[in-house]
């Protein structure tokens, strides 16, 4: 019986991150209570290499 299921997630320890093309945190809808979790990665080079 499978007692633990691992959800597919982005591996934080890997990648050539830090291209900076993504939005800054407080744009779009928020303006008052920012986080970064709901932002998309816009690193096209990294996406293409996947």
């Amino acid at each position: 019986m499978e007692r633990i299921k691992t959800i597919e997630t982005r591996k934080l320890c890997e990648g050539n991150g830090g291209c900076g093309e993504c939005q800054t945190s407080c744009q779009s809808a928020c303006k008052t209570s920012c986080g970064i979790a709901n932002q998309a990665c816009e690193n096209t080079a990294e996406k293409e290499s996947k």
């Binding site: 691992t6 997630t9 990648g15 991150g17 744009q27 779009s28 970064i36 998309a40 990665c41 690193n43």
Partner: protein, 475 residues
Amino acid sequence: MIHQYKLLGYNIILDVASGAVHATDEVCYEMIRIIDEGGYQDMLELAEVRSKVTGAVRELFPRSDGLTDADLDECYDDVKALVSAGKLFAPDTFEPIAGKLKEKTGGVVKALCLHIAHTCNLNCSYCFASQGKYNGERAVMSFEVGKRALDFLIENSGTRRNLEVDFFGGEPLMNFDVVKRLVAYAREIEGKYNKNFRFTLTTNGVLIDDDVIEFANKEMSNVVLSLDGRREIHDKFRVDYQGRGSFDRIVPKFQRLVRERGGKNYYMRGTFTHRNPDFLEDIKAMLDLGFRELSMEPVVCAKGDEGELTEEDFPIVCEQYERLAELMRERDKAGDPFTFYHYMIDLTGGPCIYKRISGCGSDTEYMAVTPWGDLYPCHQFVGDEKFKLGDVFSGVSNTAVREEFASCNVYAREECRDCWARLYCSGGCAANAYHATGSVKGVYEYGCRLFRKRMECAVALAVARMLEDNEGADK
């Protein structure tokens, strides 16, 4: 470090440093809790630890439950394998690279919040911008200042291709002609510099007309429409200078704008306060009006303000967040889904680790520009002279403030080190921290607690969607 909780019928384990997310049954959930509380994660190879852990789990689940010793051993081995694979109890080794992104991209600006109008046609009492004036004089930005701001952005954007510009206020449509001229100017020059301008307009809707709708739907990557939900809630705060509520005037305009936009790339953004901690009712009101891309934000206001959220409100708000996640799942299943800004978590394609530890970007890659061309770390610092960075004509001169913000990252705050949500928030909002504690490196604790609740809900919703949709069947 792990964080475990139960929501939407799932037992969820978040592994903080690896970003891994696991859904478990009760036995495994308890086993991982026992390992965590006992600090056994580095000793799982030891027979003595295996015996201790499986024994403790056995006490919780007697043999009459049908759980065999072989089941317990198998579960233990599964957990051990995940620890070995770096997906459970992974060490946080990122501190040495914190700040590297800011270092690497130092001086590169990629987003501006243009305060196109420091004036407003509404008089909302909870407005953090003091009715659009930011504690100063009423003013509108001239085309010349705006043009210089766009040039400043291009000059300081290095190799960044995507440049974001928010038209903000006050009410930006009170200076709509300048908005249009600035967009035309940006379109004229973006090709020459190999840039891609993405504009956002935030509006209270009062001045929306055919011209605005056509323009916004052609040129704005995103529009943010301010609506607080239920008519009685909206009209309590969002009133004009005669004290009249604005709900009936703006809703038909918003509906038309969204319809003609194809229902995409907008946010219906509301604020909830002490008056409506039961904000899910406002979300439902937005849904009833036909809107599907929604955001409700906890109010940011001065201490003692009548709208300030209280300790008594906190459990109510948390329950609302949970019920919101449940409602979203129900609507998914009914084939009429909607989006909630803070629950838009992308577990597979979200931000990289550099982004997660770098902090919000205020002052370093994002700045606000006043109608006079003054630069501030973000829109929430505008009007506080000591945070003035310089201006779009001569650039940043206040290096002390710049350095303070540049050193803001997720490891800059002692409180964040022990927080499981640190790689989801990146240290939080500098403005909220400053207003709550007097320091941009402080912690706005109430906001943190709300943020953690939102992340629990967002991840649970993502788990439910991924597991149930992948299996093609409900649990």
